[in-house]
């Protein structure tokens, strides 16, 4: 379980994140949504200790994440950052990098490392192109490979900052279905930042709506829609309709319906 307890963060002496408290349940898919500049990526960096909160704490299984060593933290939380640098290396080599927090200095690659890397490649569907250079892959394939690396990291919590950015619609759904498989089959806790509200509402167990550095509302898609938090945060109107028992959402910039 990962919990943000009353965290605050300041950029250039101006409060940016204030009083952010939330418990991300073990084994769930939680998605943080909000308009540009509301602090989503900053929260991700605070949760993964890439930034240090000026007040409050991030707790991992009840313990302050500051108390974890760098490698110990990496064994608990994996981050797939936004705009990740695309390295000039083979897919399999990149996925092997995920084993870093489990390896000691100068120790050779163990059988367990090899097995886990192989399973990660299999699970993410990246095995067929494991000998290709990452630079030569499509955007969707690259995301799968980075997810395979995060999977090889063997952390219980995987944090994804905009995993569908710059992907075409097919690749977006491919990546989201993979995320669901990691959650359902391997029990990974997934925390995502998404700009695509359709994907967020469709694939998340819980949605956290942010505005101005704090949480406006949180809950499952039903609760969040009922609260009108998405409409308020994005200044849009949201309409849900059903077809074959499946919910679809439409958004428009007309005045919000509930006001």
């Amino acid at each position: 379980m990962i919990e943000a307890r009353n965290i605050a963060f300041t950029y250039n002496h101006a409060p940016f994140i204030e009083g952010f408290s939330h418990v991300f349940d073990t084994g769930s898919i939680a998605t943080i949504v909000g308009p540009n500049g509301c602090g989503k990526s900053t929260v991700v960096k605070l949760l993964t200790r890439h930034l240090k909160p000026q007040a409050g704490a991030v707790l991992l299984d009840g313990e302050n994440s500051e108390h974890f060593g760098t490698r110990a933290l990496a064994r608990k939380v994996a981050l797939l950052a936004q705009n990740t640098h695309v390295p000039n290396m083979e897919v399999e080599q990149l996925v092997q990098c995920g084993r870093f927090p489990h390896q000691t200095f100068a120790a050779p690659v163990s059988r367990e490392d090899t097995r886990i890397v192989s399973e990660a490649l299999e699970m993410t569907g990246a095995k067929p192109f494991r000998h290709k250079n990452v630079k030569n892959l499509s955007g969707g394939e690259r995301q799968k490979v980075f997810l395979a690396m995060a999977l090889a990291q063997d952390a219980d919590i995987i944090v994804l900052d905009e995993p569908t950015a710059y992907l075409d619609i097919h690749a977006c759904y491919d990546v989201m279905q993979l995320v669901c498989r990691l959650n359902e089959q391997l029990g990974k806790t997934i925390i995502m930042v998404l700009h695509d509200l359709q994907l967020a509402l469709e694939y998340s167990h819980e949605i956290v709506v942010m505005q101005g550095g704090s949480i406006l509302a949180s809950g499952n898609s039903e609760e969040v829609i009922a609260s009108h938090a998405i409409e308020d945060a994005f200044r849009i109107s949201l309409r849900r309709f059903w077809e074959d028992g499946h919910p679809y959402y439409s958004f428009s910039t007309q005045a919000t319906a509930h006001k």
């Binding site: 890439h50 760098t70 490698r71 990496a74 290396m89 080599q93 990149l94 990098c97 870093f100 927090p101």
Partner: protein, 339 residues
Amino acid sequence: MPAAGNKHRRTILILSGSFVLLLVVGVLGVCYGSSSISPIDLWALMAGGETKGSAGTAQAIIVNIRLPRVLGAVLAGAALAVAGAIIQAVLNNPLASPNIIGVNTGAGVAVLITAALFPALGYLLPVAAFVGALAAALIILAISVGGGVSKLTLVLAGIAISTVFTAGMNTILIVYPDAYVGSGTFLVGGLSGLTLHKLLGPAGYIIVALVLALFQGRTLNIITLGDVTAQSLGMRVALRRFFLIVLAAMLAGAAVSFAGLLGFVGLIVPHVVRFMLGSDNRLVLPASALIGASFVTLCDLLARVVFAPYELPVGILMAFIGGPFFILLIVRYRRSNFE
């Protein structure tokens, strides 16, 4: 599986081939020069054969001149090539190398200052070279880590730093013309006049740094993923980067302290290795050591025999090869995704 098997075989073949190449050029380097003996005669001498008369002279040449020179070429080549591979990975810049970004000239200016001000403390030269190399590397690292600097800008900054250090070296040599015996060769890089005694100290630094460096392949692979990913994989990035730069400075500084400003080894060799073996630094580092050693030994041999009885400092020959190679790299990366 067959693809992986082929790749594995190819890797073993290239690494063992590089080792054999080093042995061959090493033997040739010992045998040939302004006066030559055949490898068979060398074998006879090594086996404790005749040492009187001309054979005695040959043995003296081998032990006192050729052997230190070949060992120097091997050590300098391995050190500079591995330093180049480390610097390119740490700065994530394929154009970076010890001579391009001013590490060699930083070491050079420190060597000349020490030689001019403390002429009796020759044993301090490798330490001074390390300090100079480290200072230059840290300046470049600070510019690089500050962010917002393109790869080409970083190279230009390195060239500017290198120019300042070169001006410093020339100033020292004008004020203290006798500061360094063979300063002309030092400025272009050369191995003539090297003795086992002079080589002993730097060899120690290089061997220690090489052993440590060869275990850094995995770390370098992670660093090339970028700071955020490296940190999320459990790496203390700033600390590791500093350690790697210290290693590179140790290697380049120690090489410069006896071989002078040998250029382009650290640029050319890692590129050739990556072309043959791919970019996995666990392979790039040992292969760079082997091929860098072979490359400098071969160039030094050619510099001795091509214009015999005259002899070129090896650095001149390497500049003839390295300059066009550098231009080729710039053109290639400008065409692709250099920025």
